[in-house]
């Protein structure tokens, strides 16, 4: 029998810990596929966040380090500065990256740290049961904004990619989504490009991936994809916000 579709080698054969319908699984596959395509698994070090993806040190087949909440870019900096020939990536959610780890993220970008960040934005804290995230939308109902996020009281959702694109050290900043086949393909290209930039020592790369959280959004997986398109995409438009490869 001919195998037409298989798991990437860079994913270990262990069950994921994610909820049914969650798009973390797709994003893991895309990262692993990029590692396979570039044949870099043996040189790659991944850094796990705190949050839903905390246990992905078990999922990726490359060497892995589990970082304190929000500190993954600093941990990745230490690894990269120790062995600059390694390919180093972090995989972080929106609470980890854009709230508690804002300083680490911004300064890794400012240093032009030659690492890749996969930033999974699902507008909520998933692991702890659905609290307001720095990226939760205006009026979004969460466990800690039960009447909807009141921007006069709780502030506004942060557009991470747009913010980081203003930083000179950033080489590639792109927002993608995994809500459709077309967008999954786009996301795959973006993630691969980020790793290619790192291999070419171009500097800091971050791919923001819009993702779903059916469990904490209280929607089924298909409704969640619709919610992402209807509510997230207008506030978080897809696109390339910085690409030094394009600036010539």
């Amino acid at each position: 029998m001919t195998v037409v579709f298989d798991k990437p080698k860079a994913l270990r054969d262990v069950p994921f810990s994610y909820c049914p319908g969650c798009t973390h699984g797709i994003i893991h596959r895309l990262v692993a596929q990029a590692i396979d395509d570039l044949n870099i698994e043996g040189d790659t070090i991944g850094v796990s966040p705190v949050g839903c993806a905390v246990m992905n040190y078990d999922f990726f087949a490359c060497d892995m380090v589990q970082a304190p909440h929000g500190r993954a870019p600093a941990v990745a900096t230490g690894i990269k500065r120790a062995n600059p020939e390694n390919i180093v990536f972090t995989y972080q959610g929106d609470g980890d990256l854009a709230a508690i780890g804002t300083a680490e993220t911004v300064h890794a970008a400012a240093r032009g740290e030659n690492i890749t960040i996969i930033f999974v934005n699902n507008a909520i804290y998933g692991m702890t049961g659905g609290q307001m995230a720095p990226t939760s939308l205006k009026d979004q109902i969460t466990q800690t904004t039960p009447y909807g996020r009141d921007t006069n009281y709780s502030g506004y959702p942060i557009r991470v990619s747009e913010m980081l694109a203003t930083i000179e050290g950033a080489a590639l900043i792109q927002r993608v989504s995994v809500d459709s086949v077309r967008n999954v393909n786009q996301a795959q290209k973006a993630i691969k490009k980020a790793f290619e930039y790192q291999i070419a020592k171009k500097g800091f790369t971050l791919i923001e991936v819009l993702s779903t959280c059916p469990t904490n959004w209280g929607l089924d997986p298909v409704e969640s994809l619709d919610w992402l398109r209807k509510h997230m995409m207008p506030h978080y438009p897809l696109g390339v916000f910085k690409d030094i490869g394009e600036e010539k």
Binding site: I45, P68, A74, T77, G78, N86
Partner: protein
């Protein structure tokens, strides 16, 4: 062997380089400034890494990363900055990673002051971060000893796979003394098969991690770590005994306050009062073996610290109620005078 005059903070940095440290991550804070500045000047010349982080929190996590990657790595700070590093230190300990952390203590709590202090003893030996773990803590009292202990700190961090602290203070950091630089001594780094360096398709992936959702597994790992701590308590206690064998009054003091105590002891001896000292060099493990052997002949113990009395707890635990334990100390950046300690010695002698 060359003898040079060096400032404590700079000597500490040089000792780290001589011990094979090529990765330093720091953040500015008084009074440890010269240490980082020395690293910034020296590291680029010897193919090392000096990186100024955006915070102490980031610096300690860079240490975590470089240590996970198998390197000898150090960070330094002063009291308020060490508080910020406590999260990272807990993760480093929980991940069984070696690292050397320097605390050039100043007055606290809060922003406190910038004058020398020993008020971080509890923090270093009891509660540097959340969870069941220890740091090894070395407390030098001269610049030469500081240099010697830095090498030992790196060796033991690697040997026991744990974070080790050099507990200095603003006085030791800022003062100058002649030191011998033994450049030929060199260092040997041990193999680190657990390090994340890329598996090169030749082994299973390495994972550096402190998360264990199974409480049974977590307990098992902590017990393994504590078995290692038992070995350390047995093998690694260090202290200096000064005129201790015939002492009626035994002073226990470390670091800067032990230097002042020594002067007071010499004065007291001139008056015919038999005073001696046990000077802990390791604060964890606390050198209780060295205290215990003097319990029988000593009538009184006197703990001298630049704090409100923190090591006092460990001295009392070691003396175990068998003899009275007195205390003399200044805090907030105030340095006790030999006269104050001498007055306390006389007071104890007179049975007040």
């Amino acid at each position: 062997m060359t003898k040079v005059l060096m400032k404590g903070n700079e000597a500490l940095a040089e000792a780290a380089i001589m011990a094979g440290c090529r990765h330093f991550f720091g953040y500015p804070i008084t009074p440890q400034t010269e240490l980082a500045a020395y690293m910034a000047k020296k590291m680029p010349k010897i193919g090392g890494v000096y990186l100024q982080a955006e915070s102490e929190i980031a610096a300690i996590n860079m240490v975590l990363g470089a240590s996970a990657a198998g390197k000898r790595v150090m960070t330094s700070s002063s009291s308020p900055g060490i508080s910020l590093k406590s999260e990272g230190l807990s993760y480093i300990a929980g991940s069984d990673l070696p690292a050397v952390i320097v605390n050039v203590q100043r007055g606290g709590p809060g922003l406190g002051g910038i004058q020398p202090s020993q008020a971080d003893y509890w923090q270093a030996t009891r509660a540097i971060g959340h969870g069941d773990f220890h740091l090894m803590v070395y407390a030098p009292s001269t610049i030469q000893e500081m240099m010697d202990l830095v090498k030992l700190a790196f060796d033991n961090a690697d040997k026991y796979r744990m974070p080790v602290m050099i507990l200095s203070d603003g006085m030791l950091g800022q003062m100058m003394e002649p030191v011998e630089l033994n450049e030929k001594e060199g260092f040997t780094e041990i193999e680190k098969p657990w390090a994340v360096t890329g598996h090169k398709n030749k082994r299973e992936h390495n994972v550096v991690n402190s998360l264990y959702l199974s409480p049974a597994r977590l307990e098992e790992l902590i017990k393994e770590r504590f078995a290692r701590y038992d070995v350390i308590k047995k093998e690694e206690q260090k202290a200096e005994e000064y005129l201790a064998d015939d002492a009626d009054i035994l002073i226990v003091a470390y670091g800067a306050s032990s230097r002042i105590s020594r002067t007071a002891i010499n004065e007291a001896r001139k008056e015919g009062i038999k005073v001696g000292m046990v000077r802990p060099i390791t604060l964890w493990p606390f050198p209780d073996k060295f205290i215990e052997k003097h319990i029988d002949h000593s009538k009184d113990f006197l703990c001298v610290e630049m704090s409100m009395g923190q090591m006092l707890d460990d001295v009392k635990l070691a003396v175990n109620g068998k003899k009275p334990v007195h205390f003399s100390g200044r805090t907030g950046g105030m340095i006790p005078s030999p006269q104050e300690i001498l007055d306390k010695i006389r007071e104890i002698k007179e049975g007040k």
